[in-house]
Amino acid sequence: MTVFIISGKKGALDDLINERFAGDKENLIMILQAINKEYNYLPRPALTYVSTRLDVPLSQIYGIATFYSMFSLEPRGRNIVTICLGTACHVRGGERIKERLESYLGIHAGDTTEDMRFTLETVRCIGCCSLGPVVTVNEKVYARTDSEKTLKTLDQYE
């Protein structure tokens, strides 16, 4: 059987399901969020395991994994670059940053570079509208940015 390691602990998926989320089906989305956070995506073996443990059909889990935009069924890069395309960022040029990054990284939004260094994503608003356009890399927010500044920022991430 596959052993899942979460936060460096073996067998932690069980603990996560049981202790943090009381083995409750209602917490399925939050369980998937925790797995997604650990691996940067939802590995199929983990989903199969959750399905058995919670007695929820895998098809239903697949439904959730594809309905909510934060989940990914494909491995993602070491760094997640997210361009905000909320309305305020849109009118201040978010789209142009996206085009520039796409051509620079040679991928489309939603994809990952071959060397797994970057995954490029878009989001509709992170609530930093006053400081747009905004780009986030992993958890860090870069405000009042533009394509040139963003390209320079990316150099800091390996």
Partner: protein
């Protein structure tokens, strides 16, 4: 310690008055909401902590004071001196600033304004702590700055004034007294009556009267009832709820406690967007503190009422802001809305009666109970009472969060509070109500903002996003943008929404790509009509609003796109080109240096030209030119 008596609350309140209003040492309050942190407040905070760890200087964090444009904001309290808020303070500047203060000097360039009266609406039982300290010393007060002058802070009463992770400071500004009074001295029906009298309506956008919602839920049959806080603030361009959760999470908890008691519920949920990690952290901490003081859990505040709150994080689905979808998501399922022939107040979460209100609605409740429903009802217009928080963003000078009485005109909000349009450009439209809202043109700027008037104008209040657009915005592109958003976010279960929005988007994409044809406008109108009438939920039912309002107010732009193949805003790349104006170009060479495609040629001090073959219309030259010498053709 468990709070069971009013004296306990009073004691805590008295205990923090000094740290709130008369700190014994110089105190830095650094605005650390997401907006502040994005602008560098975390670095300022860390730096200040490091520099002053051995010195007699207090360093504290607060939420957002609203003027996000000028973040990081640092508010300095010095014993016996004016309390001054500084703007755009970087980590490098902070030491200099404090040293100046210690010499009783106030670096003029960085001053935003001094506080005249920091009390919240719930604190008129204490004297203004700045009496005798505030003086007309030439430093403008925050109230004299147009941005703050027209505002009245109810939902945002504590944002920027307290440490959001300190329940004591919340109590220090009159918090939890309303809950105490409600639980000990009022019957549930009296509370509901008070909410009805106050005229409070849903701040999430629907505008349904909160009192009626609570009354129906109270009367509904069901062993268990639930109260839910909708913090799934999905409208792009709106971040009122984020700011309240990050700056004053207890105001929401207190509102929910009062609501739960009124309805007869012992279990509550806060459904918060996953895109707001800091809000989640602050809520988790707030709930823990409230539990420790006996404000949540069993026998709250020494009464026999029990109530618990759990947090559930969303996973990125706009439609989950819709009440029935949200409740399904809470149940751990796919968030698809259902038809509302049975309302959620009768059968909602787990098929039980559920009251769902938005963050801002909950945050208003303690003030209504504390100041009285009659007082609240004096604010606003005939049918829309109280205040509304808006996030004023886009091409406006003072971007930020503003809270104004209902009925304030759009012109006041944009030109007085917002300071007008950026870079002296011409105003074109203001978009309100998020993707389901609409674009309001210049001719309607004197419209007093309330639920009915905005709906009459074809837009809606929505959750409060207000995005200002200038002459460089293409209204067809704006409609296309929102439809693209809605097409991605449609849950897909009903055909009119799923296919209707997709078709609308295809037509708009064609128009923006220069492939618009005769009959497209009529097709858009026809499709919109179908989507509005036949969609299952409000997402579909209001989805065509951006198309319909832009068609109503900016039809000429559609005509230029379709018939003249021109985009007057200079946004749709197939439909315009840049040309250098022979008269205005003085050969400053800035565009030459900035062009990423080397498409501009010309010697210094000579007329420059653009090679149309090479130009990618990235607009860098257009934005860089200070002499209006780049024209959109």
């Amino acid at each position: 310690m468990r709070i069971t008596k009013k004296d306990h609350l009073k004691k805590i309140r008295a205990g923090v008055q000094d740290s709130l209003y008369a700190p014994p040492l110089l105190k830095l309050n650094i605005g650390m909401a997401t907006c502040g942190i994005a602008a560098g407040a975390k670095e300022v905070y860390d730096e200040a902590r490091e520099i002053f760890k051995k010195q007699d200087v207090l360093v504290a964090r607060t939420g957002c004071l609203g003027l996000c444009e000028e973040e990081p904001l640092v508010d300095i309290q010095t014993p016996g001196q004016p309390r001054i808020v500084y703007r755009r303070i970087s980590a490098e500047k902070v030491l200099e600033l404090v040293e100046a203060h210690q010499r009783a000097e106030y670096p003029e360039k960085s001053i935003l304004g001094q506080m005249k009266d920091p009390r919240s609406v719930l604190e008129d039982d204490i004297d203004n702590p700045l009496n005798g300290i505030f003086s007309s010393n030439g430093i403008p007060t925050l109230e004299e700055i147009p941005f703050y002058d027209k505002q009245l802070k109810i939902a945002l009463r504590n944002c920027g004034y307290i440490d959001p992770e300190s329940i004591e400071e919340y109590i220090g500004r009159g918090g939890y007294f309303s809950a105490f009074h409600a639980l000990h001295a009022m019957e549930p029906d009296d509370i509901i009556e008070a909410i009805k009298i106050s005229g409070l309506r849903g701040r999430g956008g629907g505008g349904f009267p909160t009192g009626i919602k609570w009354a129906t839920c109270r009367k509904a049959h069901g062993e268990k009832k639930y109260v839910i806080c909708n913090a799934d603030e999905g409208d792009p361009g709106a971040y009122m709820d984020r700011s309240v959760l990050e700056g004053d999470p207890h105001s929401v908890l207190e509102g929910m406690i009062i609501g739960a008691y009124a309805i007869g519920s012992n279990e509550g949920f806060i459904y918060v967007r996953n895109e707001y990690p800091l809000a989640v952290v602050r809520l988790v901490e707030a709930i823990k503190q409230a539990e420790n003081y006996g404000l949540l859990g069993d026998d709250i505040l020494g009464s026999d009422f029990s109530f618990n709150i759990k947090i559930s994080t969303g996973a990125g689905a706009f439609v989950c802001g819709e009440s029935t979808a949200l409740m399904r998501s809470l149940e751990g399922r796919v968030g698809r809305p259902r038809a509302k022939y049975i309302h959620t107040v009768e059968k909602g979460y787990r098929e039980s009666p559920s009251t769902l209100n938005n963050v801002e609605t909950w945050a208003n409740v303690p003030v209504i109970m504390g100041k009285g429903a009659q007082w609240y009802a004096t604010l606003g217009t005939e049918k829309s009472k109280g205040t509304k928080v808006f996030s004023l963003v886009g091409k406006v000078k003072n971007t930020g969060l503003v809270e104004v009485p209902m009925g304030t005109s759009l012109r006041t909000i944009i030109y007085d509070v917002g300071g007008g349009i950026l870079r002296k450009k011409k105003f074109k439209a203001v978009q309100t109500g998020g993707p389901s809202g609409g674009c309001v043109p210049e001719g309607l700027l004197d419209l007093p903002v309330d639920y009915e008037r905005l709906t009459q104008a074809g837009s809606m209040m929505g959750s409060g996003g207000m995005i200002v657009m200038d002459q460089d915005t293409c209204m067809v592109d704006v409609a296309r943008y929102f439809l693209e958003f809605l097409q991605e976010e449609s849950c897909g279960q009903c055909v009119p929404c799923r296919e209707g929005i997709t078709r609308l988007l295809q037509v708009l994409n064609d128009i923006c790509a220069g492939k618009g044809k005769d009959g497209d406008i009529e097709l858009l109108e026809d499709l919109s009509d179908t989507v509005v009438k036949l969609s299952l939920c409000a997402l579909g039912g209001t989805a065509p609003n951006p198309v319909l309002t832009t068609l109503a107010y900016f039809r000429d732009e559609y005509i230029s796109h379709i018939y003249d193949k021109k985009c007057p805003g200079g946004v749709c790349k197939e439909l315009f080109y840049y040309e250098i104006d022979e008269e205005n170009c003085n050969g400053c060479h800035v565009c030459f240096r900035k062009c990423p495609e080397q498409a501009i040629s010309g010697e210094k001090k000579e007329l420059h030209t653009i090679d149309q073959e090479k130009c990618i219309k990235c607009s860098i030259c257009y934005e860089a030119c200070k002499f209006d010498a780049i024209n959109i053709k």
